[in-house]
């Protein structure tokens, strides 16, 4: 009954939405006439719309509001003293637009704003490549500039853990990175510094933090949409060498400008530079990586275009702690782990062929054939932790995206996709026997805390989705409802995600004030094999998030902008390790026992959708855009206040609970008695402030500055050790396992402790040398200028017992220690040659 009511209300909602879609007004276009030669607006210029014979006059900054009876193509006559100039424009609906009245090549380093398709105003921030490619503290990686945007919490550190950003309190693993709408498995290499995309291929990056449009999928966090260059006017190239990698880029037009090819790549050799310096302990082989990107575009005609992509990245890292036999923890940094080894690898390949059909301004369609091949590998041996796993989750998919301008007020986006998944997962999987155990001991031989489970999973599954978004505009009012549906055949589970954005612009408040709100349901399914029916849970559902937000965007002047947003996110159905979820009888997960013991009772499903979480907060961004086509300074100040909470909702046995229940009673308790405590998420940071500044103050030099402030993340306070019950069998060194509170009624329980706040100032100076063949860009980057000793959590030395000096705050990188013990800021020197 409730379900029927629900459906009726949804139908009523849709009817109301669509009735609102009736066109009510003529089209109004707010135009800024901008002269690129003089770098000024066309002030006090008379403009006639030829078709309507109506006259208008621009204001002192070149702004004018034009009215048209309907959408279509019109001619603007600019009535200059030197004579009339005709400009043709295509009017599709009410919008604000800059029209260039004269052309001039922008100076090197200048910023040119190119046309772009309309995008949602709510919870989205766009950064252009020119604004971020020389940002200090990013080591030349444009993608790292995302960390400075509102609503984003960076992962501080160096190495694999520094890879993901946290968007509005969502798990860093729940973001989706798209490269021209194509999937990439990861955005940063294992060194945590370097991105997998060559900078020069990036045109712009859009970060969607809220209820993103329906054409995006598979994220309960943010969508990072990376748009790459869409034209190449002349052959060009770039080459960059630094301490840890070399990058190269080349692009050239083809077939008399009908197409182009752009190729970028990177090769990392940190293991051969820093790794050979003798500064690192024995046994560490620093990350090796490479990546490549190929984009080929050919326009048969203005209506037909094909493009081909091939994106790859490969990373690996290894450590083998040597057994020096000295048994002296003071001399051997790895004595506790001697004899242990670990190697991890990850890679992906995305190959795509895309056909774009643009028969008219009113309709565009795009077909993309995608072959996506992500691979994860690990081989780990440390005490009871013994595992070697290879996971490949390949798919071949066909995707269609179309845009139809139904009228001057209504535009409809719609699309669909089918993927054929082919997954292969084999080896030995490592799992915690009790996922709620906060202090597992790798050397516990009495009752091992870790399980090694043989794994041999192969399978195929279908996945399909469809979406549509209605974009309705009437005057200054815009309303964009959308819905998408995703279905994974392997789990027989689907997720419906309605969403909507509403906005109203007050054109007379300063240079325009837009008030907006958005909300919607989003879904995600991790691309793993945890849904397999042999060792996983085939009943897993999509992870869900409900996101809402309201805010305003005030254009104070043409250059200054203030954007404020308040948000709340709720996460549910989050997939967690669950030791209680099971089926009464199932196939033995260990296939080697299928002859002797094919069936097991209470076969563990290992995972469930019990996880929940929520976050809320507000964001402020004050931005100074650079003057169009100039070398004007630019920058922004962003501030985010937020709180993020998470709860696994997995039943936990706390200290003092010595009562012995049978297995069925424990499972009943786990199902009905939720004693798991909600905690601050481990990535929560209450305050995040970023100040970014960039100024190309001369033809030869550019200066950049960045200051970041972050509240420290919360962590579990280490309250003691296990008394050194176990030792490393390789060298007999006692392994002191740290312990944390397992009593929810104590102040130490959970993520309750925070370290000192994190802040640092970074500066970068670029020098440009122009030559007939191109230019050289030398850069010098100073990180953490005022030598702040920033920390991130605690570090416990397992070779020593718990004491006043163990644990100690864990230092983050950002300073360098010279042989004479002097501390200097971390620095980076590099050179880019652009041909």
């Amino acid at each position: 009954m409730a379900s029927a009511k629900n459906k009726l209300s949804k139908i009523f909602f849709i009817v109301v939405l669509l009735l609102l879609g009736t066109p009510l007004f003529a089209v109004t276009l707010k135009v800024k006439l901008f002269n690129a030669k003089t770098e000024n607006g066309e002030k006090n210029l008379s403009v006639m719309v030829f078709e309507t014979k109506k006259f208008y006059q621009t204001d002192a900054e070149g702004n004018v509001i034009l009215e048209f009876p309907s959408a279509g193509e019109y001619t603007l006559k600019l009535l200059r003293e030197s004579g009339a100039v005709d400009i043709k424009i295509n009017v599709t609906g009410d919008e604000t637009r800059t029209v260039y009245t004269d052309k001039k090549a922008p100076p090197k380093g200048g910023i040119t704003v190119e046309g772009e398709r309309e995008k949602t105003v709510a919870s989205r921030t766009k950064v252009r490549y020119e604004e971020i490619k020389r940002m200090p503290g990013t080591f030349g990686e444009a993608l790292r500039a995302l960390e400075t945007l509102p609503g984003v919490i960076p992962n501080i550190g160096f190495g694999g853990g520094a890879n993901g950003i946290i968007v509005r309190g969502a798990d860093p693993q729940s973001n989706t990175y798209l490269y021209d709408d194509l999937p990439i498995l990861y955005a940063y290499h294992l060194d945590g510094l370097t991105s997998v995309i060559h900078n020069d291929l990036i045109k712009s990056i859009d970060l969607y933090r809220g209820a993103f449009p329906a054409n995006f999928n598979n994220a309960t966090g943010g969508i990072i949409e990376i748009e790459t260059i869409d034209s190449v006017q002349k052959a060009k190239g770039a080459f960059q060498v630094s301490l840890w990698n070399t990058t190269a880029y080349a692009a050239t037009p083809l077939a008399n400008g009908k197409g182009y090819v752009a190729v970028g790549g990177k090769y990392g050799y940190l293991d051969r530079t820093l790794g050979q310096s003798g500064l690192l302990p024995d046994g560490i082989r620093l990350p090796r990586y490479n990546d490549s990107q190929v984009k080929f575009v050919y326009n048969f005609s203005p209506e037909h275009q094909i493009s081909f992509y091939n994106l790859t990245a490969q990373d690996n890292f290894a450590i083998a702690a040597p057994n020096n036999g000295a048994n002296d923890p003071t001399k051997d940094a790895f004595s506790s782990f001697a004899g242990g080894r670990a190697s991890i690898g990850q890679s992906y390949r995305t190959t795509a062929l895309r056909y774009s059909w643009n028969p008219s301004d009113k309709f565009q369609n795009r077909l993309t054939l995608i072959n996506y091949d992500p691979i994860l590998e690990n081989n780990i041996a440390l005490g009871a932790i013994q595992g070697k796993q290879y996971t490949r989750s390949l798919y071949v998919g066909l995707r269609q995206d179309a845009t139809w301008t139904a009228s001057s007020n209504i535009k409809i986006d719609f699309g669909s996709e089918y993927r054929r998944l082919s997954f292969n997962d084999y080896g030995t999987e490592i799992q915690l026997r009790d996922p709620t155990n906060s202090s597992p001991n790798p050397y516990n031989t009495t009752n091992p805390d870790f399980l090694s489970r043989p794994l041999s999973v192969r399978g195929n599954s279908g996945y399909y989705n469809a979406y549509t978004t209605l974009k309705f505009k009437a005057g200054n009012f815009a309303f964009e409802p959308g819905v998408r549906y995703d279905h994974l055949q392997a789990t027989k589970n689907g997720a419906l995600g309605p969403r909507a954005t509403i906005s109203y612009t007050f054109p007379d408040v300063a240079k325009g004030l837009t008030v907006f709100g958005s909300g919607g349901d989003l879904a995600r399914f991790p691309l793993t094999t945890i849904f397999n029916p042999e060792t996983g849970n085939p009943n897993l559902e999509f992870e869900k998030a409900r996101k809402t937000g309201v805010g305003f965007d005030l254009k104070i002047t043409q250059m200054y902008e203030l954007k404020v947003e308040v948000f709340k996110n709720e996460f549910k159905n989050t997939i967690v390790n669950d030791p209680f979820n099971s089926i009464p009888v199932g196939l033995n997960p260990d296939k080697s026992q299928w002859l002797s013991n094919p069936l097991v009772s209470n076969r563990s499903l290992n995972y469930s959708n019990r996880g929940t979480g929520w976050s809320h907060g507000y964001e402020v961004m004050f931005r100074k855009n650079s003057k169009q086509g100039s070398r004007d300074w630019f920058g922004w100040l962003s501030y985010t206040w937020s709180q993020s909470f998470s709860n696994t909702n997995v039943y936990k046995i706390y200290d003092g609970d010595t009562y012995q229940y049978s297995g069925i009673e424990r499972r009943i308790l786990a199902q009905y008695y939720n004693n798991s405590k909600e905690q601050l998420a481990t990535w929560d940071r209450t305050h995040v402030i970023n100040m970014v500044y960039g100024w190309r103050f001369s033809e030869e030099y550019q200066l950049g500055g960045r200051w970041s402030y972050l509240t420290s993340v919360p962590y579990q306070r280490i309250t003691g050790d296990d008394g050194g019950k176990f030792a490393n069998p390789a060298n007999g060194v006692t392994y002191w396992n740290s312990t944390v509170s397992n009593n929810p009624y104590t102040a130490e329980y959970g993520n309750t402790k925070r370290g000192a706040d994190y802040h640092r100032l970074d500066i970068r100076i670029d020098k440009f040398e122009n030559y007939s063949w191109g230019y050289l860009n030398w850069y010098f980057e100073l990180v953490n200028i005022y030598l702040r000793k920033n920390t991130n959590g605690e570090n416990f030395d397992n070779s020593r017992p718990f004491s006043a000096t163990n644990p100690i705050p864990s230092q983050t990188f950002g300073t360098l220690e010279l042989p004479n013990k002097a501390i200097i800021p971390f620095f980076n020197i590099g050179m880019e040659a652009h041909f």
Partner: protein, 171 residues
Amino acid sequence: MKFILGIFLCISIVTIINCDQNDNNFGKKYETTLLLTYITSSSDANGACVTLSKKQEECFSAPAAALGITVTTSSDASLSSKCVDTLKSSQFHTMSAIAQTCVINCQITDWNTKISSGECKTATASSLVQSSLTNAVVSKCIRSCFLTTNGTVSDSELTKLFIFNFIQQGD
């Protein structure tokens, strides 16, 4: 225009109605299975204990019975009384009735096997006890009583869960 809107309306409604049906009701089935398993789990620990004691008496009297000697067996009431004491002992008093019953049932199966295999007629008392303590099938059965899915019972904890009421009797 209205035609276009009509098409969009139809597509939207059909999409929402058809797609908003969650065909995965595993959660409800799981709860039902749990509850059914729970209510069909025996919790008569004392009754199971009495049965176990009888089986042990039967086994230990087997050699005598084989020789035609009549052995006096304990009454249900006395066994039940002893079982009450046993189940109050330190290793059992913090255990739920279902867990107690499950553990004892594992041992009943073990003693049944001993009786049916004729082991009782030939083996000594100490070897019978020892065979119970070292029997992997019994250990696995007892462990499964506490196993949620990945639960653990250490060996030292396990041996405490064996009941040998005849030893307490001094038989």
